[in-house]
């Protein structure tokens, strides 16, 4: 008996001893701090492979291949090869990056990229070393600036400014627009200059066609596009100096309720499809069929409208000449589309800035920086604009191209583009906002008329603010 007991006890003791000794050694080893070192030494790594994550359009239109080939040829002496990361364009660096499965260089929207800053998943960059530095406006840079432990860094290189634009069929304008629909005689039809005339013209189309055709059509419940109406009258998403204070939700700020009123009025010239995402998806074919006159969406889908026109039997040239893309119309100061007495003001829209960033987990940060410098050079951005029809953040190219590109750049500077806040909590904004917008549209179309008075609208929009606040903070606690 003694033998067995002592054998058992000694076995247990030995195993315990092994675990405790090794475990404690591990703890001691963890206590030794390692200060690490600065990554951007300026010395370009040799013989490395860079995985580049670009967006799908760049890949589809062949721009990515051109970019990679040009870069690889330029840096052949270093033995650097840049390859397509071949991942989903919305790949979350946070999930795969730390374990070595992320790309080295990412091209994404500013809100997606800046989300990575919290976990230090992307590197702060020495931007002044880059060619594009002085050509990009400070407003664009500021979307990529963030303060970490008292120091301000820049984490991304702006490439492309995204804002919603108005699309319309030029061939569906009334024949007499120059006489009847151009009050200021500036050669631009009034309905694409301000929302009041767009609203009137939509009413007229519906009347003339007996309800089978529409003027302006858009899924009004889409928060990204609808938020612009609130911003234009003083609303904002989050308060604070940097627009990131999630405790202060402000769609109802100022005269935000006027935005709700506009949405409600616009719904009255549409149909119930505007309360769901149907119109977002069918606008391409409906515009091509001539059922819709105009819609609002981002500039990157221009080719889809053209494609659908061609599908409908038009020539490509005809389609290119008649699908027009312009800056969004102006809004009446009064907050009532039927009241133009107080004049008009520019509409503020939600926009974003797409750009490049470098993963913190890359083995070759200097080579990655060289790649970004190359990709944002005059030559490559120019080519990018040519192939993809984007609005460059580089003002030199925007000025050269002129037109809409210049306008968008100016919009960013003048503040009529409300840059999407780079906060994770933005995800909680959409559901309450889109439910409210759908409710507004439904209210107007089904004749429930629960949101007629300013008071009801004010109450509705404050409730949205409250819901957003709740969904961000209830579970977050304190």
């Amino acid at each position: 008996m003694r033998k067995t007991v002592s054998a058992l006890i000694s076995h247990i003791a030995v195993i315990f001893a092994v675990i405790i000794v090794i475990g404690t050694l591990g703890l001691i080893a963890a206590g030794v701090s390692d200060s690490g070192n600065e990554k951007f030494t300026g010395e370009i790594e040799r013989n490395v492979t860079l995985r580049i994550l670009e967006n799908d359009t760049a890949k589809e239109q062949g721009y990515l291949k051109e970019l990679l080939d040009a870069f690889n040829a330029e840096y052949a002496e270093y033995g650097i090869t840049a390859v397509d990361a071949n991942m989903d364009q919305y790949t979350d660096l946070e999930t795969g990056g730390p374990y070595g499965y992320g790309p080295d260089v990412l091209y994404q929207a500013n809100d997606a990229l800046m989300k990575y800053v919290d976990g230090k998943h992307i590197l702060p960059m020495p931007i002044e070393k880059l060619e594009c530095h002085k050509y990009v406006s400070d407003k664009a840079w500021s979307a990529y600036r963030s303060t970490v432990q008292g120091q301000t860094y820049t984490f991304g290189i702006p490439v492309n400014i995204q804002q919603p634009l108005l699309y319309y069929r030029a061939d569906l304008l009334p024949d007499d627009w120059q006489t009847n629909w151009d009050d200021d005689k500036n050669g631009i039809p009034d309905m694409i200059e301000n929302w009041s005339d767009m609203y009137r013209y939509s009413q007229e189309i519906r009347r003339q066609s007996g309800g089978s055709k529409y003027g302006y059509m858009k899924s009004l419940n889409d928060g990204y596009f609808a938020s612009g109406y609130f911003f234009s009258y003083g609303g904002y998403v989050f308060g604070g100096d940097d627009g990131k204070d999630t405790k202060d939700v402000g769609f109802s700020n100022g005269d935000g309720y006027k935005g709700a009123k506009i949405i409600r009025q616009l719904a009255s010239v549409m149909n119930l499809e505007c309360t769901e995402d149907t119109i977002t998806r069918n606008s391409y074919s409906r515009m091509a069929q001539g059922t819709y006159f105009a819609t609002m969406t981002t500039p990157d889908v221009y080719t889809m409208f053209v494609k659908e026109m061609v599908n409908e039997g038009y020539t490509e040239e005809y389609a290119l000449n008649n699908i027009k893309m312009v800056d969004v119309p102006q809004l009446p100061v009064s907050g009532n589309l039927e009241d133009e007495s107080q004049g008009f003001k520019a509409m503020t829209v939600m926009g974003g800035i797409n750009g490049y960033a470098i993963s913190s987990y890359t083995k070759a940060p200097n080579a990655a920086l060289a790649f970004i410098d190359f990709a944002t050079s005059y030559k490559m951005i120019n080519r990018r604009c040519e192939l993809l029809g984007i609005s460059p953040a580089r003002s030199d190219i925007a000025d050269e191209l002129g037109g809409l590109n210049e306008t968008i750049n100016n919009n960013l500077d003048s503040g009529t583009i409300y840059v999407m806040p780079s906060v994770r909590a933005l995800a909680q904004v959409w559901t309450p906002l889109q439910t409210f917008c759908a409710k507004l549209a439904d209210d107007s179309l089904t004749g429930k008329n629960a949101f007629v008075s300013d008071e009801a609208l004010k109450k509705g929009i404050s409730n949205v603010d409250k819901q957003i606040y709740d969904s961000i903070h209830t579970l977050g606690g304190s």
């Binding site: 799908d56 589809e60 989903d88 999930t95 374990y99 998806r281 074919s285 069929q289 599908n311």
Partner: protein, 285 residues
């Protein structure tokens, strides 16, 4: 004489009515199940990609463009590759998963060992956990085992998780009379032989059911492959289809139809084992 004739005639009309009603119900059921699929099939033959150039359920113009682009336009969406990937994953997980599930169910049904009831209750209870966060754990574990971005990682997970659903198969084995085992054991057969030679041949229906479910799950799963596969060339069909652009509806529909085909084929191959599995007459007490 007359009376019996009338009775026979009455029974006959009753029978005809019975058959008639049965077929009516069958036609309705077939329609309900077939119609949405038919719509998907029609949509895949739509000439324009958009779902909105339809008159109700029917495309305005027909064409093979969607199928053509599905198999030829592989720069962005490499459907043929995805299809082969999915086939590989599903076949392997089907084989392994079926073996594991059947073994587990058989043991739980036939053996009385100490921890049996405890195991049964534990699996039942844990299965109830609303584990929408469990995938995080699985993902992190796979990063530690270096199995991210590899098909074998997925196969491992699918086949390892399959036995959790052993209950159905256990219920089936419970209905096979014990007398069969006993008779065989008297003849000197080991438990393994009993299982392989006697139980398995009688269990074809449930084997087929298990294999079908074990195949269908990886075949149409979206969440796990989306999480574990990074490289687009390694995608499965479900993940790939979800990444299609929103105006590519016809292509989406065509892709969806091709997903369904292997399962249909599998069904037609296996169906004969499914019905009358006991027809061999192994059980006569």
């Amino acid at each position: 004489m007359n009376k019996t004739k009338a009775k026979v005639a009455k029974a006959k009309t009753k029978k005809i009515l019975n058959v008639l009603i049965t077929y009516c119900i069958l036609i309705v059921v077939a329609f309900i199940f077939f119609f949405p699929c038919l719509w998907l099939i029609l949509a895949s033959f739509s000439k324009s990609g958009s779902i909105y150039s339809f008159d109700g359920f029917f495309p305005t113009e027909y064409g093979f463009d969607a199928f053509k682009s599905l198999f030829t336009d592989t720069v962005m969406y490499n459907y043929p590759k995805w299809f082969l990937n999915t086939l590989f994953i599903a076949v392997m997980s089907c084989i392994l998963g079926t073996i594991f599930t059947i073994l587990t169910a058989y043991c739980m049904s036939r053996f009385r060992f100490k921890s049996r009831k405890a195991m049964m209750k534990t699996t039942l209870i844990l299965g109830m956990f609303p584990s929408f966060m469990g995938t995080i754990a699985v993902y992190l574990m796979m990063t530690q085992f270096n199995l991210i971005n590899q098909h074998w990682g997925l196969i491992l997970i699918y086949s390892a998780q399959a036995p959790m659903g052993y209950m159905v198969q256990k219920g089936f084995f419970d209905t096979i009379p014990y007398s069969i085992d006993e008779a065989a054991r008297i003849d000197g057969a080991s438990n393994f032989t009993v299982f392989v030679k006697f139980i398995l041949p009688m269990s074809k229906p449930i084997l087929v059911y298990t294999a079908l479910t074990a195949f269908t799950w990886p075949w149409s799963d979206f969440i796990l492959p989306k999480m574990l596969l990074v490289d687009k060339d390694l995608y499965t069909v479900a993940v790939g289809l979800m990444s299609l652009g929103e105006t590519e509806f016809a292509r989406f529909a065509a892709g969806s139809i091709f997903i369904a085909i292997p399962i249909i084929i599998l069904y037609f191959c296996l169906v004969k084992y499914m019905i009358n599995g006991m027809a061999a007459g192994a059980v006569k007490e």
